[in-house]
């Protein structure tokens, strides 16, 4: 029996529906200025554990957020009840909240109408995935794992969504987007070996489940019976995922205001910041470009500003920090509106080349439980996981026990040996699509490991 007839396709609100909803909401508004944001998403997922599907789900939601402003007083409210009663009520709540709020000296007026490029983060292949297609993808991992006597666990998620912003000045922005991700952890039956592989892209057809399963299985097999090494400073080859796990923290620390206020790595004494200063090796360039097809992002910001390409670090030098509209005006800069994705520069070497050029060092697949320790240096702690190996004389020779590190991506990119070819990676710990990030495999000196873990 076919189940297809019962399955609605992934849903999202069209441009016309969003226009109708935002117009309707704005017609109920009495504030000096009003912004209406619509987020419509269909999130579907399939989880598998111990070689079988454990849960699968599908949730469709559309949320309308209203931001109201009377003079310098503002408030906001959101709802997912989109009929007239719901929209009228959410506008009224937002306006009531605004009137009750104190004046905000930093209030900024709503933008006027803007011109946008079309977003490039939509894929029909992702939007058309249904539960059967997801189950087939999972089976491409679970069945070979089971045959090989291994235990596979993992997660696949497809998101189809639309976002719209409209305001009382006549601004209207609409974009639809997709995201997909598949990650798997394969363990040996006795739990003495564990390997991971994962991929994410807005276009599901760019993800190959069978090869991810095979890679995770290889890592699980080769990580059995790890040896203990002394914690300390090591030359490390980070696979692209591990590199992405760490490099993304630089992107999160780019707030200009925190820097100017003296409470960031990018601060300089006297209310200054590090724009123009060299902070990492000159081979390092980090940019956000919402129209980069490998790491596409939304064509507009939450306020409706068109997003644009921004170079944060160029040849090791800080070029830009992230300015919101208020801080930009105050500091006499342009607001940034960069979009959420990042791409880091690379070289021409493959991962194998980086390994081959290493006399003694460690190879890290990915990190886990990364948490900030000291914001002054972007210092983080965390542990290696699911495939950590010793490199001797250009070859991976044996698995090593997992290690905890205390170090900063800034120190790491100052001790740079070599960069490889950038790849799109799944760098979020939770296995959600996360921030779109392209990052190369990276080889560095003197990375600081502080203790061993018995965890497999």
């Amino acid at each position: 029996m076919t189940t297809r007839s019962l399955l609605a396709p992934a849903r999202h609100l069209s441009r016309e529906e969003c226009e109708a909803i935002t117009k309707r909401a704005l017609s109920f508004a009495a504030a000096d200025e009003t912004r209406v944001v619509v987020n419509s998403t269909n999130v579907s997922n399939t989880r598998f554990a111990v070689n079988q599907i454990s849960t699968g789900g599908d949730a469709f939601d559309s949320v309308v957020t209203v931001i109201s402003r009377f003079g310098k007083r503002s408030g906001s409210s959101s709802t997912n009840q989109l009929d007239d009663d719901g929209l009228r009520a959410v506008v009224q709540t937002s306006e009531r909240v605004a009137k009750l709020s104190p004046e905000d000296p930093e209030a900024m007026p709503e933008l006027g109408p803007q011109t946008y490029r079309s977003g490039v983060n939509w894929s029909d292949a992702t939007a058309s995935l249904d539960p059967d297609a997801r189950a087939r993808a999972v089976k491409q991992i679970a069945e070979p794992a089971k045959t090989a006597g291994m235990v596979s666990t993992g997660f696949m998620e497809a998101i189809t969504g639309a976002q719209a912003i409209a305001n009382s000045n006549g601004l209207f922005a609409y974009n639809r987007s997709t995201a997909s991700v598949l990650t798997t952890t394969v363990r040996t039956n006795d739990g003495t070996g564990s390997g991971w592989a994962g991929a994410t892209h807005h276009d599901w057809s760019r993800i190959d489940p069978a090869s991810l399963g095979a890679r995770a299985t290889r890592k699980a097999r080769s990580s059995v019976n790890p040896v203990a090494i002394e914690p300390g400073r090591y030359t490390v080859v980070f696979e692209p995922t591990a590199a992405g796990n760490l490099v993304q923290f630089i992107a999160r620390a780019l707030n200009a205001r925190s820097a100017d206020e003296g409470r960031s790595f990018f601060s300089l004494p006297g209310g200054k910041n590090k724009i123009g200063q060299k902070v990492v090796d000159e081979r390092v360039t980090i940019v956000s470009d919402p129209y980069d097809p490998d790491v596409a992002a939304s064509p507009f910001s939450g306020e409706g500003m068109p997003t644009q390409r921004v170079a944060w670090i160029e040849n090791g030098v800080v070029k830009n920090l992230d300015y919101d509209r208020y801080w930009a005006q105050r500091q006499n800069r342009a607001p940034t509106a960069a979009g959420s994705s990042i791409r880091m520069s690379g070289g021409s070497a493959s991962l194998d080349d980086l390994i081959a050029g290493t006399r003694r060092g460690l190879l890290v697949t990915r990190f886990w439980y990364l948490r900030p320790v000291d914001q002054r240096t972007i210092l983080y702690t965390g542990l290696t996981r699911d495939g950590t190996y010793l490199i001797e004389n250009g070859k991976v020779t044996k698995p090593v026990k997992n290690l905890r590190f205390n170090d900063s991506p800034i120190f790491m990119l100052n001790a740079l040996e070599e960069l490889g070819v950038p790849e799109r990676v799944s760098a979020s710990e939770g296995g959600e699509p996360g921030q779109a990030i392209m990052v190369p495999p990276i080889k560095v000196r003197d990375f600081n490991f502080t203790s061993l873990s018995d965890a497999v």
């Binding site: 070689n51 939601d61 998620e157």
Partner: protein, 546 residues
């Protein structure tokens, strides 16, 4: 204090029952009435549009059954939250949000399916139920071990409400903003304190659960969190102090008043300034005197997570991880987890705790249960599906095989699964307090508040920071330290526990952000503890200049 540990928990449980009962009887209205026809709050005009939930629940269950589900349940959840955030003398955000929808879970031949929607019409409810069944059928194709549910008593018409005194949504926004701004002013009056952020977050969740077995429950759950962070900036350096002795609670606006932000702000600001000039710690081994505002997070990471049964069985291997407390047949009743002073209990009954509820998200009344008794591991956290995995153990003990009531979903849009309840360290019989433990310590560090935290995927190797660190010498605090973090291996750390405070030193910490599952769902939990001392723990220095 002559109270035993068991009596301590019992007396707090009794207090909750009384409070919950009184709340209903004084208004003369059951929580069921309150849910279907709640009082008009000035900020919630939507509630008048409440559809008939009972009728829609019947539609969902009927549609799931006719589509072939052997078991189905449905949750209707209306979630209202409000956030007021400030920095210095500015209100940066005031938001009042509401989301309402339902999720259907269906079991077909031992495979789960789930679907959710925000459209509360009969047609959409039926469509979503059929979609859940279709999901289950698709999932069945890769089935190895069919799901079987442990029996649970049918609850025909259960009602429960958090024991609140003042509904936070009835308190005016101006009053909330004024309190925060005044507290900020008090913090900034301290010389050297440059920035302050403060906020209040409130949640009210109205939840209806119905199952094809005939259970139906109505619950209204509240959560409240006031908080403040003060930043001091010195010559090219900065330090922050978070108010995390003020824990989030399952209470109403009275919890904000009890937090005394205005009175505490100068102390937090002063400590942020002191941290700038504190001595950087010398690495080495120290005895640690840990305040419960710190230890709750260590309990969360090193005890509560590894004793989740799905994790121990490999179901969370791809994200949250597995567990060193595994396999069950080799560790239940035998694994030495810590010293004889270590007694750990799971509960969803402590009054004002974040996990407190009448029934979990599969309609099971939660029970208080021992997880670790005198240092030995004795039980896991379970749901209906999981309890049967331990049937052999409960039979051996002569106990019924039933769920401990640990099923939870973060919203209507997410499927329920095993989540930790409150997991707490029980106080000792002796009436020892903070000062007693410091006086008994020759060379140590006292830690207040939680800070940076990280633990491996099997919960062996962990590292924890804190908010404020004091050096102890010869039984006295001799000054403040900074750049302190301790590294530990879970069983060794808990084996070194050699002093626990009495019931008077007991405090409930906790958080909204307990993360697990894929897609990641967050769970709100409290962890209680008395003051404690751990011997000879490895301390590292986390300071480094850029």
């Amino acid at each position: 204090m002559g109270q035993t540990r068991r009596e301590f928990i019992k007396s707090t449980t009794a207090a909750l029952s009384v409070a919950g009962f009184a709340a209903h009887s004084t208004t003369g209205r059951s929580a069921t009435d309150a849910l279907v026809s709640p009082p008009q709050s000035p900020y919630s005009p939507l509630v008048a549009a409440e559809p008939n939930v009972k009728e829609l629940a019947a539609v969902a269950l009927e549609a799931a059954k006719s589509a072939g589900a052997g078991y189905a349940d449905v949750r209707f959840v209306r979630n209202r939250n409000q956030n007021v955030s400030t920095r210095e003398q500015r209100v940066t955000n005031v938001a009042d949000n509401e989301t309402y929808g339902f999720g259907v879970r269906a079991l077909v031949d031992g495979a789960w399916g789930f679907a959710a929607s925000r459209e509360l019409t009969r047609d959409e409810v039926a469509r979503t139920a059929r979609q859940a069944v279709a999901q289950a059928r698709a999932n069945r194709s890769a089935l190895v071990r069919p799901v079987v549910l442990a029996p649970a008593p049918v609850v025909a018409n259960g009602t429960w409400k958090s024991p609140i005194e003042t509904d936070p949504f009835d308190v005016a926004i101006e009053e909330k903003a004024a309190l925060l701004l005044e507290a900020n002013k008090a913090a900034l009056a301290v010389k050297g304190a440059r920035f302050v952020n403060s906020s209040m977050f409130f949640l009210r969740e109205e939840k209806t659960f119905a199952s094809s077995e005939g259970s139906m429950t109505f619950q209204v759950i509240y959560r409240t969190q006031p908080s403040m962070t003060v930043t001091a900036v010195g010559s090219g350096d900065f330090a922050t102090r978070e108010s995390n002795e003020v824990a989030p609670r399952g209470l109403g606006y009275e919890h904000v008043r009890d937090a005394k932000l205005l009175e505490n702000a100068p102390k937090w600001a002063d400590e942020a300034v002191q941290k700038l000039n504190a001595r950087s710690v010398d690495v080495g081994r120290y005895d640690l005197v840990l305040h419960p505002s710190h230890l709750w997070l260590t309990i969360h990471e090193s005890v509560a997570h590894p004793t989740e049964l799905d994790r121990a069985m490999g179901y969370e291997a791809n994200y949250a991880g597995t567990s060193f407390v595994s396999p069950p047949e080799k560790v239940l009743g035998t694994l030495k987890y810590g010293s004889e002073l270590m007694n750990i209990r799971g509960d969803r009954t402590q009054p004002g705790s974040l996990s407190a509820c009448g029934w979990d998200d599969e309609g099971v009344k939660p029970e208080d249960f021992d997880i670790i008794r005198k240092g030995t591991f004795v039980d896991y956290q379970t749901t209906r599906e999981q309890a049967l995995w331990l049937d052999w153990y409960y039979k051996k003990l002569g106990r019924p095989t039933r769920s401990h009531g640990c099923s939870y979903a973060q919203t209507w849009a997410a499927v329920q699964f095993q989540r930790m309840p409150n997991v707490s360290l029980l106080p000792g019989a002796k009436d020892l307090g903070w000062d007693d433990l410091i006086a008994a310590t020759d060379r140590g560090i006292a830690i207040i508040g939680d800070g940076s935290f990280s633990i491996d995927q099997q919960r062996y190797n962990a590292q924890f920071g804190g908010q404020v660190f004091y050096e102890i010498k010869g039984g006295k605090i001799v000054g403040m330290l900074k750049d302190v973090a301790y590294q530990m291996r879970t069983p060794d750390f808990w084996a070194s526990l050699d002093m626990v405070g009495g019931a008077r030193s007991y405090f409930l910490g906790g958080a909204f952000g307990d993360a697990k599952g894929q897609p990641v769902q967050v769970n709100a939990i409290s962890h209680g503890a008395p003051v404690t001392r751990f011997r000879n723990i490895n301390v590292i220095n986390t300071g480094r200049s850029a």
